[in-house]
C-alpha cells in the first residue's frame, strides 16, 4: 500500500496515507458490524421471544439498520435549554473516539495488525477506562435529573467492574508473559487445549460477566433502565448525537468480545490442527461471544443496583485475587507448564 502511494507522494505522506487507508479498512467493517449487530440483536431476541423481529425493509429486513441510520440523520438534535452546549456535544465524542481508537492495536491474523505496540493490552485498558467520561459528562451537561442519576449509576458501575476486569487481565499476562496482543494469541498455539480459557476458566467467566457490566448491557443495564430512569444518561440526546452513543455502546461490545477471544479463546487460531488458522476463526468466535451477550439479554431479568455492586466488589475481586495467587503459586511448581 505504501508503495502505491509513494508513486505520487513523498515517502512520509505516503506512509501516513497508507496508515489512513488501513485505519479506514478497520473502521468501516467495524461500523458495518455495529449496524448489523443491532439488526442481529433484534432478530435473535425476537426469535427467543417467539416474535419475528424487523423483516420489512429489504430481504429479511436486512436494510433495517440503514433505514435506522437515515432516520436518525434527519432527526433534530434537540438542545435542552438548561444544558451546557459545549459539553453536551463533547460527551458523545468522548464516548465514540476511545471505543474506536482501541481498535488500533487489535491483531486480526499473523502480521495483520495496524499498530504492533508492546503495551497493547495496557493501551486497550486505558482506552476503555476513558469511555466513562462520555457517560459522566453527558449526564452532567444535560442538566436533567434522570440523565444525572443514570450517569452516576453508570460511572460507579463501570469503574467497579473495571477493577475485576483488570485483575483477570493480570491472570492472562502471567500465562502469556507479554502485553502485546499478538504475542498473547501466539502463546496459545497448539489446538483448543492450549487456549487460556481452560487454565484460567474462573477468570474467563469473570471477564465475560464484567464485560457485560462494563458495557452497561442487560442484565446489568440499570444505567439505562428504561422502566425506571428512562434511558439514563442519554435521555436528552436525539438524532445523530444519540446515534453516536448507540454506536459507541455496540462498538464497545464488539471490542470486549474480540478481546475475550484474543485473550481466552485463541484469537485467529484454529481449534483443531486439520483446519488452517485464519481471520474467519476470529470472526466466528467473536460472533459466538456476541450471541452470548444477546442471549443473556433475552434470558435474565435486570439486577438490582446493590446486587451489581456486591457482585463486583465482594465476589469478583476476591475470586480473581485468589485465582491470580493460585496461578502464581502453581508457576513455582512443576505444574507450571499447564499455565503457559
Amino acid at each position: 500500500m505504501q508503495d502505491f502511494f509513494s508513486q505520487f507522494f513523498s515517502p512520509e505522506l505516503a506512509l501516513t496515507l497508507s496508515y489512513l487507508f488501513k485505519i479506514i479498512l478497520i473502521v468501516v467493517p467495524v461500523m458495518i458490524s455495529v449496524a448489523y449487530l443491532t439488526y442481529f440483536e433484534r432478530r435473535v431476541i425476537g426469535f427467543m421471544q417467539s416474535r419475528i423481529g424487523p423483516n420489512r425493509v429489504g430481504y429479511f429486513g436486512l436494510l433495517q439498520p440503514i433505514a435506522d441510520a437515515l432516520k436518525l440523520m434527519f432527526k433534530e438534535i434537540v438542545l435542552p435549554s438548561k444544558s451546557n452546549n459545549f459539553l453536551f456535544f463533547l460527551a458523545p465524542l468522548l464516548s465514540i473516539a476511545p471505543a474506536l481508537a482501541a481498535w488500533a492495536v487489535i491483531p486480526f491474523n499473523y502480521e495483520m495488525v495496524l499498530a504492533d505496540i508492546n503495551a497493547g493490552l495496557l493501551y486497550v485498558l486505558a482506552m476503555t477506562s476513558i469511555a466513562v467520561y462520555g457517560v459522566i459528562i453527558a449526564g452532567w451537561a444535560s442538566n436533567s435529573k434522570y440523565a444525572f442519576l443514570g450517569s452516576l449509576r453508570s460511572a460507579a458501575q463501570i469503574v467497579s467492574y473495571e477493577i475485576a476486569m483488570g485483575f483477570t487481565l493480570v491472570g492472562v499476562l502471567m500465562c502469556a508473559n507479554s502485553l502485546n496482543l499478538g504475542d498473547i494469541v501466539i502463546a496459545q498455539e497448539g489446538g483448543i487445549s492450549q487456549w487460556y480459557c481452560w487454565p484460567l476458566f474462573p477468570l474467563f467467566v469473570i471477564y465475560f460477566i464484567s464485560a457485560v457490566a462494563e458495557t452497561n448491557r442487560a442484565p446489568f443495564d440499570v444505567a439505562e433502565g428504561e422502566s425506571e430512569i428512562v434511558a439514563g444518561f442519554h435521555v436528552e440526546y436525539s438524532g445523530m448525537a444519540f446515534a453516536l452513543f448507540f454506536l459507541a455502546e455496540y462498538a464497545n461490545m464488539i471490542l470486549v468480545s474480540i478481546l475475550a477471544v484474543i485473550m481466552f479463546l485463541g484469537g485467529w487460531l484454529s481449534p483443531v490442527s486439520f483446519i488452517p488458522d485464519g481471520i474467519f476463526w476470529l470472526i466466528i468466535k467473536v460472533a459466538f461471544v456476541l450471541f452470548c451477550f444477546l442471549w443473556l439479554r433475552a434470558t435474565f431479568p435486570r439486577y438490582r443496583y446493590d446486587q451489581i455492586m456486591r457482585l463486583g466488589w465482594k465476589v469478583f475481586i476476591p475470586l480473581t485475587l485468589v485465582w491470580i495467587i493460585f496461578v502464581g503459586a502453581m508457576m513455582q511448581t512443576s505444574y507450571a507448564g499447564y499455565f503457559h
Binding site: 501516513t16 496508515y19 489512513l20 488501513k22 485505519i23 473502521v27 461500523m31 440523520m73 434527519f74 433534530e76 438534535i77 434537540v78 438542545l79 435549554s81 438548561k82 444544558s83 458523545p92 465524542l93 473516539a97 471505543a99 474506536l100 481508537a101 488500533a104 499498530a115 505496540i117 452532567w140 444535560s142 435529573k145 440523565a147 444525572f148 460507579a156 469503574v159 473495571e162 477493577i163 483488570g166 485483575f167 493480570v170 491472570g171 499476562l173 502471567m174 508473559n177 507479554s178 502485553l179 428512562v230 436528552e236 445523530m240 448525537a241 446515534a243 453516536l244 443496583y305 446493590d306 455492586m309 456486591r310 465482594k314 476476591p318 491470580i324 495467587i325 503459586a329 508457576m331 513455582q332
Partner: protein, 118 residues
Amino acid sequence: MLDSYFPVLLFILVGLGVGIGPLVLGKILAPHKPNDQKNSPYECGFEAFEDARMKFDVRYYLVAILFILFDLEITFLFPWAVVLDSLGLQGFIVMMIFLGILVVGFIYEWKKGALDWE
C-alpha cells in the same frame, strides 16, 4: 518504537473525526425548530422545580476513591505478571507481601461496610 505509535495517534484522530462527522451532518441535514416545551429537560410532564445537579451519597465518592487505589494496584501487578517467569519464587513472595498488605485494607473496608449498598 515510536514508529508503531504513529498509527495509534492517527487512529485517535480518526476516531474523533468519526464522532464529529455525524454531528455536523446531523446539524446540516436535520431540521432545527426549537421551542420552550421541547427544550425543557425531561421531567415526566411537569416543570422542573430545582436544579438537577444535586449532592449525592458519599458512597459514590468512596467507590471512586477505592477505584483509584485498586487501579494503582493493578498497574503494579502488570509488570510483575509479565516478568514473573524470570523473577521466580522470590518475585512471587515479594508480590504476596504486597498483596497481603492490601488485602488487609480490603478486609477493613469490607468489615466497615464500605462495600454495602442498599
